[in-house]
């Protein structure tokens, strides 16, 4: 893989992040590039700050007052091609816009208490799309994109709460995919699922990366190595190592990374 082909979509630069009331930062000067149409995995022991970093990347943290960021998180402007620091965004509509560009999938499936169709159409309606025909088309496209069109096309009006966990998670992916985000952040998306559903989600994520750049937090070493192109290993709020996944798993340059990957701690 020639590095010259790689284009950065996002880049975390020297990021410090402190939770409200916490005596010291949880993220301590993180640097991390996110390359376009690649999957970047974040691994590391529980509590090392993976979720914290991921949640900074679409500023979902900002729902709760009193936190502080220092540093930069750049996101490439699609039109100008310039990198812009998302930590500069202040206004509510700017943050809304950011979250539609950088979507997020959570550990537990989070279907809204509405029908399957309305779940997927929800974000589109928020964007102002009202035309029924247009919505129908986009919902279908998103459900196909998330590989659950076949299972859902005859029950679009049914409540999403009745689906299986794996189906719900794919529905949530469809809901985000429908907005055509530039980046999709996954926080341990399969850890609440059975192996078969996990397989389906992994396959889906590999498919998605054609159109959407992915960052994924995972506890599962196999998942990280199977799925990702790049891997970053975090420990106690530091990014210890970032490299191509193959390199990280076969020949890490840090002793700590090797210990973690071979299961010697964590």
């Amino acid at each position: 893989m020639a590095n010259s082909e790689l284009k950065k979509v996002m880049e975390v630069k020297d990021l410090f992040f402190t939770y409200p009331g916490a005596p010291e930062p949880t993220l301590k000067g993180n640097n991390l590039p996110i390359y376009e149409n690649k999957i970047t995995a974040l691994i590391g022991p529980s509590g090392c700050g993976k979720s914290t970093l991921l949640r900074a990347m679409n500023r979902i943290h900002d729902l709760y007052p009193g936190l502080t960021y220092k540093g930069k998180i750049d996101l490439r402007n699609q039109e100008t091609g310039k990198m812009e620091n998302i930590l500069d965004l202040k206004k509510e509509n700017e943050l809304i816009n950011l979250r539609q560009r950088v979507g997020m999938i959570f550990q537990k499936p989070t279907p809204f208490p509405m029908s399957i169709y309305d779940n997927v159409a929800y974000g589109l309606k928020l964007q102002g799309i009202k035309n029924k025909g247009e919505l129908d088309g986009l919902v279908e496209e998103a459900l196909k994109g998330a590989a659950i069109w076949k299972e859902t096309k005859d029950r679009l009006k049914d409540s999403a709460m009745g689906m299986s966990g794996g189906q719900q998670q794919r529905l949530c992916i469809a809901r985000s995919v429908a907005l055509k985000p530039e980046v999709l952040l996954f926080d341990e998306p399969t850890s609440a699922l059975d192996p078969i559903s996990t397989g389906a989600i992994e396959e889906l994520i590999s498919e998605i990366k054609k159109d959407i750049t992915v960052a994924i937090v995972t506890h599962n070493m196999q998942q990280a190595s199977r799925l990702s192109d790049f891997t970053t290993f975090m420990y106690l709020g530091d990014i210890i190592e970032f490299d191509e996944t193959e390199k990280i798993f076969l020949n890490p340059s840090q002793k700590m990374t090797e210990d973690y990957i071979t299961g010697r701690f964590g």
Partner: protein, 284 residues
């Protein structure tokens, strides 16, 4: 040995609430018989409440107090519901962490103030304002409805808040993650998610308002007339009972038992509906 006795005692105590309920119904029903036989269902829409000569016979109809109860409750619910929802939204979604606690305590204290205090405060401080703004002579349906609203707001807000608080954070976050505003998250995620509890809290408050005595007694005017405008005085079932039950005799007191029975059955149904249907199996 002691175990068996203890178990039996606790079983007996548990059955007590059942017997109380049945007992209340049976007593009211029995004492209401005379009036029920005399007036039947006409009682519900007869506007006259007139004892006969020498306390013999007379005509008693429940229309005025029944309507007074329903109307004051309706006014209260119309005013209380949006405000209580607003307070609940403020407490769950808007107020910063340090403010939530003092505000919550204040709301709960408001709910703890005895209803007689609301009544008296309403009479001396609120009725004049209503008179100034809407005319009339201060006491009447509207004043009773407003003060009743002030009384049920904290109760309704507290239950609604508890229901809204059950919405998982990740569910809200995933709506924000696709670009929803706070209001959209409230409307499309929190409200639907806690719908049962919210409707339940409204109905439960309605049940409370129907049976409220003292706050209304000071303010509704306590006269047996049909109000022509909303500021006119009238009466309600609890207020009629509070003021006249003790002196009534024969057919009149039987008619009052009849009214008490109606109130009891209606509020039982309303409250049971809220508890059973909307809060349902959620309890544990």
């Amino acid at each position: 040995m002691g175990g068996k006795l203890f178990r039996n005692f606790s079983f007996f105590s548990a059955t007590l609430s059942f017997f109380l309920l049945v007992g209340i119904f049976a007593i009211l029903f029995t004492y209401a018989q005379e009036s029920m036989h005399t007036f039947g269902f006409d009682f519900l829409y007869t506007e006259i409440w007139e004892p006969g000569e020498d306390d013999e016979g007379g005509i008693f109809g429940g229309y005025i107090p029944i309507m007074g109860t329903l109307m004051s409750t309706l006014i209260a619910m119309i005013l209380a519901t949006p405000l209580a929802m607003g307070i609940a939204i403020f407490l769950t979604e808007i107020a910063p962490g340090q403010i939530v606690k003092p505000f919550s305590i204040a709301i709960e204290l408001l709910a703890a103030i005895p209803s007689i205090i609301y009544g008296m405060w309403g009479l001396f401080y609120f009725a004049p304002i209503v008179q100034l703004l809407f005319g009339g002579n201060g006491v009447g349906l509207l004043t009773a409805g407003i003060v009743l609203a002030i009384m049920v707001i904290p109760f309704m807000a507290a239950i609604t808040r508890d229901s809204m608080n059950t919405t998982p954070d990740v569910l809200k976050e995933s709506a924000y993650a696709i670009g929803a505003t706070k209001f959209e998250v409230i409307k499309d995620v929190i409200m639907p998610y806690s719908k049962g509890g919210i409707i339940g809290s409204i109905i439960l408050s309605l049940g409370r308002a129907l049976g409220e005595t003292m706050a209304v007694a000071f303010l509704i005017g306590s006269v047996m007339t049909v109000p022509k405008v909303i500021t006119d005085p009238t009466t309600s079932i609890p207020v009629l009972l509070a003021n006249n039950f003790a002196e009534a005799q024969d057919l009149e007191i039987s008619s009052m038992y009849y009214l008490a029975l109606i109130l009891f059955v209606v509020s039982f149904t309303v409250i049971a509906l809220a508890k059973f249907y909307f809060f349902g199996r959620k309890k544990h």
